[in-house]
């Protein structure tokens, strides 16, 4: 089995994996980082979104080997372990942008990426278009849109996480 090495939430990890291991399997099963979820098998739902080298990717459609040598940020690494929530996490909580919570990690990681790419002033139309790859069955998106707009503003002055 080939070896794979990467940085996950700032920590170096190395493991021998079956070559077909998906990044999401590596995170969930090898590293026990179960905050990243799997909601589909066709790359539509976005519950599995993580950042790879600073860019949002669907970890269900990425092989662990493709992340070799890279830096991965998951929902568990978005805020410092004992510090306050990341502004986007706080915005989801404040605006009731989640119900069952299953899509939430992917939503938050997508939203943070959206801010990195498009800035802190996101209008409703942009947010709705940008959520094309993230499905939620609970909220009707209403409060997710509100949360992302507020979270984007609150992220002003924050630096890009690892």
């Amino acid at each position: 089995m080939p070896a794979v090495s990467m940085t996950v939430n700032g920590k170096a990890v190395t493991a021998d994996v079956d070559p077909r291991t998906l990044l999401v399997q590596f995170l969930r099963e090898h590293l026990r980082l179960t905050g990243t979820h799997v909601g589909c098998d066709t790359s539509q739902c976005g519950a599995c979104v993580v950042h790879l080298n600073g860019i949002a990717v669907k970890s269900c459609t990425t092989l662990a080997l493709q992340a070799d040598g890279g830096s991965v940020l998951t929902i568990e690494g978005l805020a410092a372990p004992d510090g306050p929530l990341h502004p986007m996490q706080e915005a989801f909580r404040e605006h009731h942008g989640l119900q069952c919570g299953y899509c939430t990690p992917g939503m938050v990681m997508t939203a943070v990426d959206m801010v990195y790419r498009l800035g802190n002033e996101l209008d409703e139309h942009t947010i709705r278009q940008e959520l094309d790859g993230n499905l939620c069955r609970c909220t009707g998106y209403h409060n997710i849109v509100k949360a992302i707009a507020a979270g984007a503003k609150a992220m002003k002055g924050t630096s890009k996480a690892a």
Binding site: E29, G35, Q89, H96, L98, G101, G140
Partner: protein, 791 residues
């Protein structure tokens, strides 16, 4: 005593206690659990909709690396694992009981739908189990299949017990009176309606982990279920896996349910059984594509309905004939959905003197069909609200006005279809919705749309639902196999913190917050000192789970009862502490006071004294502070309201955009307005999904064509505008908090509002759900063609 208006009490928009773990990725869903020595299960499923199973050859699969067992239906039967059952007995109009066909967890002799499990492979890893599953060879003799409920009764018979594939032919109401009303009516509106088949698609796919403990001869099942106790009861009493006290069911964080996780499914039974066979925990995680074939679907009705109108647009009668598709086997509550959760709501918000409804439930070679958000009530609302809207158009009466003329105005109101509506004010919700939705300005907006080449339409849906199901004795008399009360246990700790054990289950509803709000208000304690425990049969003694918008109306009522007992006991303790008569103790804002004095004791002092027991003898009072209660409702609750949808249709492409949504609902007492609004948003989204986007499509061979998120159109953020949500309030007289329930309203109200709006825009009623761009485009073209022909 209560302190209304407290910052964390009833009515406050408290931020959710559960959210920290969810936004940080620390939720514990079933798939996040990994048991020591865990193995993985992969099901082999029938690729045919209807086929005799002639031989299952597992030799090659069993020889694959990492394979621990390959198990078949024959072995399941040999081990005397019982069939899955439907728990609600419906009788046909001729008095005969419904025809429930045997439903083994793994098919042994015949596969009845694409996806029916025919074998299971247990492997060391998922990849090994998956590889081996491909090596299982099954010889099938393919049989003719039927998927269309309208054709089921003349198709090849699926189950021996059910000639003409008919499960029951049920009816409700007075046929003669309805016929007479239609015959003598001034006008009759007739509609043929297909209520499209839906796939619930909670974002978390189902997962089951079965673990057999040989030392104690007991099982544990971790499962994505909305009702762990009923799962335990059925798997114990009917499937016969183990006695109830030897089976523990744990439902940890569950990622959405919408009904689809109420039911007892084959996979959880198989994981338990297989764990004993292989002597290790067995975990099954459903893929999304597999979920399309394995999770119960919803709706799927074919209906003909006639509404009779008398003078001044008064509804004088309603007659409905429905064929309901229950799929290949009868799922857990399937029989009740198109009967007592459907026909009983056909009176809508209207005073209708006579109603008759006939329902034929049929088997087809499709995935079993059962409750999905709203369950029967969206289907009923769609029938009634389409008839009223079309009737108004045919009669040339404003649809809001026609509704007003027919609204029930005094309560209690006995409908001709069992229900006794206890309270409501339908005029108020319509009036408020008309204002909030600026219906007055619609004409101007329509002209503006027309200038841009768009057709603008408006549609109403004044829906009613029955929730909080219901008095146990009443549902028992209608065929329910269970009682539908709820339980609660309030455990007060010596330091005054409180644990509430509830038989309800939260899978997105926010019970950890709303239930704690109730306790915080009643006991005057900080909300952070209250925790809600649910979803474990070893912790909670018994409960009926969460579905049918019942957790507030029924579950919280049980907590109220238990809190009453806690308060009474605490007063006794306080009386000993304060050396006063028990009757003189007053309790307010977390403080016990001797009436008319300044002598008092704080909550924490009393709770500590309850446990140290220094102020009273055992003969005078039992130590401790823990009380339980079972609450059985006195009636259904009847949430109702008015939703108004505004659409813009592009006649050249058929694309429909929802440009405005107004929802005004009467849910009775609202515990947390933030959470209630969220429930409305989500419900509306699912209803809009049904109306515009979603549809499970089978081809004539029984293959599910819409079998993944690439083919089944799920609502996305871009499909919605911001929603305007308001409430009106009539208190529910049937429970102590006055709660009616809010979980399903949006999904019930929305489809009719959308279709009423589109048909208003395009000027033809001939439009089926889902109203995709193609369907709307075709309807526009057809209407134009007919108009040209008429000219």
């Amino acid at each position: 005593m209560t302190t209304p208006g407290s910052a964390t009490g009833i009515g406050a928009a408290v931020r959710r206690k559960e959210d920290f773990r969810f936004v940080t990725g620390k939720g514990q869903y079933t798939d996040d659990i990994s048991r020591p020595g865990e193995t993985r299960a992969m099901f082999v499923r029938s690729p045919h909709a209807h086929a005799r199973i002639k031989r299952v050859d597992v030799k090659a699969a069993a020889a694959m690396p990492g394979v621990l067992a390959v198990l078949t239906g024959a072995e399941l039967a040999a081990d005397k694992i019982g069939n899955l059952i439907c728990g609600w007995l419906i009788h046909s109009k001729d008095g005969s009981p419904m025809k429930m066909a045997p439903h083994p967890a793994i098919a042994a002799s015949k596969a009845c739908y694409v996806g029916d499990p025919v074998a299971v492979v247990v492997g060391e890893t998922l990849s090994q189990a998956r590889d081996a599953a491909e090596k299982v060879t099954v010889d099938y003799e393919v049989l003719p299949a039927v998927t269309d409920p309208g054709k089921a009764q003349s198709a090849a018979q699926i189950h021996e017990v059910a000639p003409k594939n008919t499960i029951y032919q049920w009816h409700l109401g007075d046929a003669k009176a309805a016929d007479a009303a239609i015959k003598s009516a001034k006008h009759v509106t007739r509609l043929d309606i297909v209520n499209n088949r839906l796939v619930p698609n909670a974002m978390e796919p189902r997962v089951a982990i079965g673990e057999y403990d040989r030392g104690n001869d007991g099982f544990t099942l971790w499962n994505t279920t909305q009702n762990p106790h009923v799962a335990r009861l059925v798997i114990s009493a009917f499937v016969g896996m183990a006695p109830e006290h030897k089976l523990r069911v744990i439902a940890p964080d569950v990622g959405g349910g919408f009904g689809s996780k109420i039911f007892i499914y084959p996979e959880e039974v198989v994981c338990l059984w297989a764990s004993k066979k292989v002597g290790r925990p067995v975990k099954w995680t459903c893929d999304r594509s597999e979920a399309f074939l394995a999770d119960a679907h919803g709706r799927d009705h074919v209906t003909h309905a006639e509404m009779a109108f008398g003078d001044d647009g008064k509804i004088v009668g309603l007659k409905v004939k429905t064929i309901a598709n229950l799929g290949a086997y009868m799922s857990t509550f399937s029989s009740s959905i198109p009967t007592y959760l459907y026909a009983t709501l056909l009176s809508g918000q209207y005073d209708i003197p006579t109603i008759y409804c006939e329902v034929d439930a049929v088997y087809t070679n499709t995935v079993p069909v059962d409750a999905y958000r709203g369950a029967g009530r969206p289907e009923a609302t769609f029938v009634v609200e389409r008839l009223v809207e079309v009737g108004a158009r045919e009669l040339g009466i404003d649809p809001g006005d026609l509704r007003k003329r027919n609204f029930i105005k005094s309560f209690p109101h006995q409908t001709p279809v069992i229900m006794t509506y206890d309270a409501g004010d339908y005029q108020a919700s319509l009036k408020k919705a008309l204002e909030l939705g600026d219906v007055k300005g619609f004409g101007k907006r329509k002209r503006e749309s027309a200038r841009a080449g768009k057709l603008r339409g408006i549609g109403y849906s004044t829906y009613i639902e029955a929730c909080g199901i219901a008095p146990s004795q009443a549902v028992g008399s209608l065929g329910a196999g269970v009682g539908l009360w709820e339980s609660a246990e309030v455990r007060v700790n010596p330091t005054g913190s409180v644990e509430v054990l509830t038989g309800c289950h939260s899978h997105g509803q926010g019970h950890e917050t709303t239930f704690a709000q109730l306790v915080s208000e009643r006991l005057g304690v900080p909300i952070d000192t209250v925790s809600i425990v649910h979803g474990d049969t070893d912790k909670v003694q018994f409960g009926m789970g969460t579905y049918g918008s019942r957790s507030g109306a029924v579950g919280m009522s049980a907590i109220v009862k238990a809190l009453d007992k806690v308060e009474a006991k605490a007063k006794k303790v306080a009386a000993f502490m304060l050396e006063a008569a028990e009757g003189d103790i007053e309790f307010k804002d977390g403080k016990f006071t001797v009436a008319g004095t300044d002598k008092s004791a704080a909550w924490g002092e009393v709770t500590l004294n309850a446990y140290v027991a220094h102020k009273f003898t055992g003969a005078q009072l039992e130590p401790g502070l823990k009380e339980g209660a079972f609450y059985d409702p006195t009636n259904f609750t009847f949430p109702a309201g008015c939703h108004i949808c505004e659409v813009e249709v592009d006649p050249d492409t058929g694309r429909t955009e929802i440009v405005g949504w107004t929802a005004v609902d009467d849910f009775g007492t609202v515990v947390n307005p933030m959470i209630v609004e969220g429930q409305v948003h989500g419900g509306v989204a699912q209803g809009v999904g049904q109306a515009l986007l979603e549809g499970a499509v089978y081809d004539t061979d029984g293959q599910l064509v819409s079998g993944s998120f690439m083919d089944y159109s799920m609502p996305k953020a871009e499909n919605f505008p911001m929603l305007k949500v308001g409430t009106t309030m009539t208190r529910c007289p049937g429970n102590p908090l006055g709660i009616k329930g809010c979980g399903e309203a949006g999904a019930i109200a929305a489809p009719a509002a959308v279709i009423n709006a589109i048909t208003d825009a395009i000027g033809t009623e001939d439009l089926a759900m889902p109203a995709t761009a193609q369907a709307v485009w075709a309807a526009v073209r057809k209407a134009a063609k007919m108009q040209r022909a008429a000219e």
